[in-house]
Symmetry: C2
Subunit: 151 residues, 2 copies
């Protein structure tokens, strides 16, 4: 199994960062504006991505764990074949005046080229999360930073 790892830190309270990860409204501010679903463990959350009105993809995830100010874990139930069965994990901790997010998209079956792309793109979206928290303005899809011919 192969994992995508990232670490970002932002000057904010853990609670503010946690809310941006644990609620559909929060995630809509930095990953994709079309985020809908539940706000409790065991529930489902759906993410839809478009570009110029064209649908790029839809991800359905089960909310596996929501531990306030500590951890958010999703399990990919439906989406790109490479993603199904993988987990997306955010671990939170305070360091000095920074809220630190340790991110892991874990359980890829192989390091396909799509994994390279998703790794860079997760980094872009975590910078969007940092921007949302620190400035009030993220860059969620469809206004996300494009990194290549694969968007």
């Amino acid at each position: 199994m192969f994992d995508i790892l990232h670490r970002v830190g932002m000057k904010a309270s853990l609670d503010k960062v946690y809310q941006a990860l644990a609620t559909p409204e929060g995630v809509a501010g930095w990953w994709t504006t079309e985020t809908t679903g539940d706000r409790k463990a065991g529930g489902m959350i759906k993410f839809r991505f478009t570009d110029g009105g064209r649908e790029l993809g839809v991800f359905n995830m089960k909310i596996v764990e929501l531990r306030p100010n500590t951890r958010v874990v999703w399990e990919v139930v439906d989406g790109p074949a490479e993603w199904i069965g993988t987990n997306v994990r955010f671990e939170l901790k305070q360091e000095d005046d920074f809220a630190v997010v340790l991110f892991k998209h874990e359980g890829w079956r192989e390091p396909a080229e799509f994994m390279y792309h998703c790794s860079t793109k997760w980094g872009v979206f975590l910078q969007s999360l940092k921007s949302l928290i620190e400035t009030g303005q993220g860059q969620p899809s469809p206004n996300d930073v494009k990194i290549s011919n694969w968007h």
Copy 2:
């Protein structure tokens, strides 16, 4: 062993991207302004990072392979303990009007928190490479985008 993976694409010729990876002057435009050394396989290349005049770190790498418009590989000889013995690899290919870079920092012995940080930071620097190639202006250290309390 664990690897950091990234994929970026830029509207440019392969040769232009290759030159930014294969020469000290090229790398100075997107990774760190203090890049010095050789331009042939078997030689050495040195990267120095500072912040506000304070030295953050120095990396010495052996140039393992330089294959024009195709591949650049460095082996870390000296630097942070976690990096020593790892390889940094750039594979290039053309797709439509994009030069695509598949990046791999391979051979980490464990997924330490520093690896999470370096993964995100490599993504930031590859965006800097894309910016250098497409606009003529990268964001190399010490003017790189800061992502956390770890810079």
